[in-house]
């Protein structure tokens, strides 16, 4: 039991280092267990942008009755892939993801989204669930929990231009939004 506990990757920085060697998610691509890293998330995303939620509309009465989708309108504050800055985009989620009383988006909130390419039904959602949606802190920073930082930024994730910022995120769990966006841009192969 004790050994099992010691292998878990959520007990602080020391444990994170150990985890990075023992259980680097990027080395387990396709695993049923681990979350994808930022590179994988970026690769799989059809749309990447910072947006402010302007409107949330149900195609049926919330929480009941026949219906199938929730339409979220966002103003793109910083478009990186599949969305242009200043553009308004409509995202449609399958309503089954919306638990009654637990709205996934609130008008007014600002979120950084990695969205799957639209499905053949027109639906999308954040890549890898929580991992593909990042809230911006009140101080305009991307803030990650330690384990999420370790998952998104494994040591195997090497960048040419933003290595310093990546290390900062991996070790300090937060960065200015602009620095984070630069990392994503590099991974997405998008020039500023």
């Amino acid at each position: 039991m004790g050994r099992t506990i010691l292998r878990c990757g959520y007990v602080g920085l020391a444990m994170l280092v150990a985890m990075a060697h023992a259980g680097d998610p990027s080395s387990r691509t396709g695993s049923a267990y681990s979350g994808p890293d930022l590179q994988q998330i970026t690769q799989k995303a059809g749309m990447i942008f910072l947006g402010r939620v302007e409107r949330v509309e149900w195609k049926h009465a919330a929480g009941g009755g026949p219906g199938d989708r929730v339409r979220i309108t966002l103003l793109v504050l910083d478009g990186i892939r599949g969305a242009n800055t200043g553009q308004r985009v409509e995202v449609q989620e399958w309503s089954g993801l919306w638990t009654p009383g637990h709205d996934r988006y609130q008008p007014g909130e600002t979120v950084f989204l990695f969205l799957y390419p639209k499905s053949r039904l027109g639906f999308t959602s954040p890549v890898a669930g929580d991992a593909g949606r990042m809230d911006i802190s009140p101080t305009q920073r991307i803030v990650l929990s330690p384990e999420r930082a370790a998952s998104l930024f494994p040591r195997s994730l090497r960048l040419q231009k933003n290595a310093g910022s990546t290390q900062s995120l991996r070790e300090q769990y937060s960065s200015e939004y602009a620095q984070f966006a630069q990392i994503v841009r590099e991974l997405a192969g998008v020039a500023r």
Binding site: C8, G30, P36, V56, E57, A61, A62, G101, Y116
Partner: protein, 976 residues
């Protein structure tokens, strides 16, 4: 153990225990019925499956090669059994059969713009309450979550998804759907992790909400122990992030923890159970230390105390979030109270205050072999990272940090079936202090406090604060509101200030013209709204919590940065004079530019800035006030008017004169007035340039042609022409924007002429004074030297006396013969004749006695001065004149009284603690003198300032009587 006992409050359960026939339950709740969309009788009730029974139907297909249909069915059944096996819960979940099809990518498609799925898995399929889809190839997952979502790469998040999608008016779930991704069940090593996620999904289907217990397993602080892991609930909002099979991170991941067991038992309680319950409410303390407002959003944790070691267990523990049955989002006057679809925000959760601080710790397990147990209750904040669909209770709209703290509370001797009521009043919590602006609701806003910087609170549930201020056109302003905690530290875990802007006259509860969502700036806890004004109007600001919440610890600081006006409204071209900017929100970080040029700040307060106007030429210039700390720029378009602006107008008031002998002065001035574009408002201190042709004539004020004279306080200029040529004279008055007015005068050259200069003198009735008077004798335009002029009375005053100093006077080289008329208590007007010694020509000199009631004071210059400390005031100049026909009156006694007031500086206005209005000042110096108007009716007075006074207002009252226009006030403001 000993120390523990000292540090806790101990409640003997035996004192308050209520032995229940069955144990009530507790735990996380997914959703609670609210007042809209549910029958009134169930408001506040957690949503559950009716009759504690759920029948589910499974896909006809296989989940994966590893889990063909039958194996998958067993797998699902096992997951649900973890919930149904809880002894203290009475819940039945059973497979009732198969769905009518194999659900896969081929039967989940679009028809037109409508999602088509098999009928028996749609929300309307209430005869198949729960459908379980085996998405063998991930195509259904791809279709519903997005292209690529069904890949094995995303099993960590997409292996099981779905949930309840329909419920009844009686607060029962009506339908739910679970999709299991077969790509996540490819190897036997995948199954424990998949099972863990399926149990969590099953919990949600059953109505169990997320729970925060042993959160250090997620945060790593402090490092989790094996106890933490063994007590870490399966229904934690995020679960552990695991880089291997779940079994490597969490022991027994398919086994419910006590917190999970308590949660399911709360929703589906067994008729008899061997658990105990502690419930109550969390309260703020009121002024007397008694229970005040209920406190929502506190994570109440109960840990069983080891009877041997006295250590609170991290395994046998459960939680309840206070106010979990109360509404979490009520809307507010700014964002409204309904969604875009017209559904109330307050659809879920009760509005009954009795639930607002309610917690329910049930399912408290008694150790086997023991008759009783002791539980320790602690209060914890919720992790603000858990929100939205990972939110806990009402905190899904943003966690709120508890106010104050309490020592751990021990509840002893809990026996099976015990039901203990334990309310908790947090003694050191914030207390409601009604802020000074209250009540300031939508229909009765308060004025923005002086200085535009103030503290307030949203102290009670649903509180919103409204303020108004008068706005003028062409201004850009900014309002920043920062949420503060009870220690006045900015925070994002108290109020979420949402801002709205209306016209004050807006209809009650109408939507705002402009709004700002909470925390839209880079400053912690701060929300900002900016706007540019249109027409002149009163604007109203609204401040609400985003959720419509309000509690004693919801403090805020607001600051409005707005420039209202400049004084004086007109700055002389070239600047260099102090001007006052009146507005809101100025501070030490404020800088000012006028016309793009820096304007040095000479003195400042929150509502006023004294700045040195930079050197600019005629025209309008923008005023910008920048807060260097945050970059906000408040502007006034064309806010500063220098000299003459393009729209200023020049009006000719009068210029009529009789023919004027060459060599004499015209008896009447050319009188013009400069106004703004409205044609009425006078423009003072701008230059009017007079010119006359023939060029040898000139203007007496300058002894030159052309001649430039500044307008007085009434915007007027008087210019007398000294005629030096015969024939028609063309006079032009011009201002800098090119506006001009013409006038004419005729110069004559009679062989002999005599002209009084001036032709009339005005004195007050009853005056006793010696009046110098003069006539000029000319011959064909040239002065006559040595000509005797005889003076005599044409008429005599009706009372009093008038005598001439000399009956005859000989002219000097200028042709002038000066004499003096001595008046003694003269009671009426009279005339003096002056004739050359030959008897002709003659001229009349009028001595006009003006009734006291007709005497008025007209300020000309210096009546309103703004100075920085150390600067000297300019003279105040007033003209004493008769009311009609508006001519100067000499020898009038004017009383001049001066009072000096120390000026209080307006500081930030604290609505909590201080008076927002400046205290009235008492004069620190007074003086009184009298002055007499000179031959032009002018009096001149310069206030004397003393260095020791500092910042003062000097008020000078000039008076010739008590009637209209007979008193005038001058003001000198000295800033320091």
């Amino acid at each position: 153990m000993k120390q523990f006992r000292k540090s806790v409050q101990i409640t003997a359960a035996a004192i308050v225990v209520l032995l229940a026939t069955r144990s009530a339950q507790s735990g996380g709740v997914l959703a609670v019925a609210g007042p809209s969309g549910f029958n009134p009788s169930v408001v506040g009730k957690p949503i559950t499956w009716a009759n504690a029974s759920l029948a589910y139907y499974t896909d006809q297909g296989d989940l994966s090669p590893l889990l063909p249909q039958s194996g998958a069915n067993d797998f699902v059944s096992d997951a649900f059994s973890r919930w149904t096996a809880v002894p203290s819960a009475a819940l039945q979940v059973a497979r009732a059969g198969a769905l009518a099809e194999n659900v896969d990518g081929s039967n989940v498609f679009l028809t037109g713009n409508t999602l088509t799925m098999p009928a028996d898995i749609q929300p309307s399929a209430t005869n198949r309450p729960l459908g379980v889809v085996y998405d063998q190839d991930g195509q259904v997952t791809d279709a519903l979550l997005g292209a690529g979502a069904g890949s094995a790469v995303f099993c960590a998040t997409n292996s099981v998804f779905g949930g309840a999608d329909s419920y009844t008016l009686d607060a029962n779930f009506a339908h739910a759907l679970i999709v299991i991704n077969g790509n996540c069940a490819q190897q036997s090593g995948d199954l424990p992790t998949l099972k863990y996620r399926l149990i969590r999904a099953a919990g949600r289907i059953l109505g169990v909400g997320w729970s925060q217990l042993n959160d250090n397993v997620r945060t790593g602080t402090p490092a989790p122990t094996s106890e933490d892991l063994n007590g870490f609930p399966l229904m934690h909002p995020r679960g552990p992030l695991c880089n291997g099979p779940i079994t490597e991170c969490v022991p027994n991941p398919d086994q419910l923890r006590m917190d999970d067991r308590a949660a399911i038992a709360y929703l589906y309680p067994a008729p008899t159970a061997s658990t105990a319950r502690i419930h109550g409410s969390i309260f703020f303390s009121d002024e007397r230390g008694a229970a005040g407002q209920p406190m929502q959003g506190v994570n109440v944790v109960a840990r069983r105390v080891d009877s041997l070691t006295g250590t609170p267990s991290h395994v046998f523990a459960t939680t309840s979030i206070s106010g979990f049955r109360f509404r979490g989002h009520n809307g507010n006057p700014i964002t409204g109270f309904q969604t875009a679809q017209g559904e109330p925000f307050a659809k879920y959760g009760s509005a009954d205050p009795a639930w607002q601080g309610f917690f329910d710790l049930s399912g408290l397990e008694i150790p086997s072999g023991s008759q009783s147990a002791t539980y320790q209750i602690t209060l914890e904040p919720l992790n603000p990272l858990y929100k939205s669909d990972t939110g806990l209770g009402a905190a899904r709209y943003g966690a709120v940090a508890p106010s104050g703290s309490v020592a751990p509370i021990a509840i002893v001797n809990l026996v099976a079936g015990a039901d203990v009521t334990r309310d908790i009043v947090i003694a050191n919590s914030a207390r409601v202090r009604r802020d000074a602006a209250e009540p300031n609701g939508f229909g009765a806003p308060s004025p923005v406090p002086a200085g535009g910087s103030w503290w307030g609170n949203l102290g009670v549930y649903g509180d919103s604060d409204f303020f108004y201020f008068h706005s003028r056109p062409g201004r850009t302003f900014h309002l920043r509101v920062t949420a503060l905690d009870e220690n006045h530290v900015s925070t994002a875990v108290k109020a979420q200030p949402t801002l709205g802007l209306w016209e004050r006259a807006a209809a009650l509860n109408s939507p705002p013209m402009l709004s700002a969502n909470a925390f839209n700036t880079s400053v912690t806890g701060q929300t900002k709204i900016s706007a540019t004004t249109g027409t002149e109007t009163d604007l109203m600001i609204g401040i609400s919590d985003f959720r419509g919440d309000g509690r004693p610890d919801y403090q805020y600081h607001a600051r409005l940065l707005y420039v209202d006006s400049l004084a004086p409204s007109r700055i002389p071209a070239g600047g260099g004079r102090p001007v006052i900017l009146q507005g809101y929100g100025f501070n030490a970080n404020t800088s000012v530019k006028i016309g793009g040029q820096p304007a040095a700040i000479l003195a400042r307060s929150t509502g006023r800035l004294l700045v040195q106007s930079p050197p600019l030429g005629n025209g309008s210039a923008a005023v910008t006030v920048t807060d260097l700390s945050n970059g906000d720029v408040a502007t006034v378009n064309d806010g500063a008017q220098y000299g003459v602006t393009n729209d200023d107008q020049l009006h000719l008031i009068s210029s009529g004169n009789p023919a004027v002998p060459v060599g004499a002065d015209a008896p009447n001035p050319v009188r013009v007035r400069v106004t703004t574009s409205d044609g009425v408002t006078p423009v003072a201190n701008v230059n009017v340039t007079f010119s006359v042709t023939p060029a040898q004539s000139f203007f007496k004020a300058c002894n030159a042609n052309p001649c430039t004279i500044a307008t007085d306080a009434s915007g007027e200029v008087l210019a007398y022409v000294s005629v030096r040529a015969t024939g028609e004279h063309f006079i032009t008055a011009t201002i800098a924007n090119g506006a001009q007015v013409p006038g004419t005068i005729v110069g004559s050259a009679p062989a002999s002429s005599i002209t009084a200069m001036p032709p009339a003198h005005r004195v007050p009735v009853g005056a006793t004074v010696s009046l110098p008077t003069s006539v000029r004798v000319l011959s064909s335009g040239s002065p006559v030297l040595g000509q005797q002029v005889n003076f005599s009375f044409g008429t005599s005053p009706a009372s009093g006396s008038a005598t001439l100093a000399a009956p005859s006077v000989v002219t000097n080289s200028a042709g002038d013969a000066a004499n003096t008329v001595n008046l003694a208590n003269v009671g009426s007007s009279f005339t003096i004749l002056a004739c050359v010694s030959t008897g002709s020509p003659c001229t009349a000199i009028q001595i006009l006695a003006v009734a006291p009631s007709a005497i008025q004071l007209q300020p000309l210059f210096g009546s309103s001065q703004i100075l920085a400390f150390g600067q000297s005031p300019a003279p105040m100049v007033l003209r004493v004149q008769n009311s009609s026909p508006d001519q100067p009156v000499r020898s009038v006694t004017v009383s001049v009284s001066t009072s000096v007031f120390a000026r209080t500086r307006s500081e930030d206005c604290n609505l909590q603690n201080s008076d927002c209005h400046s205290a009235s000042a008492r004069p620190i110096f007074t003086s009184f003198i009298t002055l007499s108007s000179d031959e032009n009716g002018l009096i001149t007075f310069t206030p004397a300032l003393q260095a020791s006074w500092g910042a003062v207002n000097v008020y000078t009252l000039f008076s010739v009587g008590g009637g209209a226009g007979q008193t005038q006030q001058g003001e000198v403001q000295v800033f320091k």
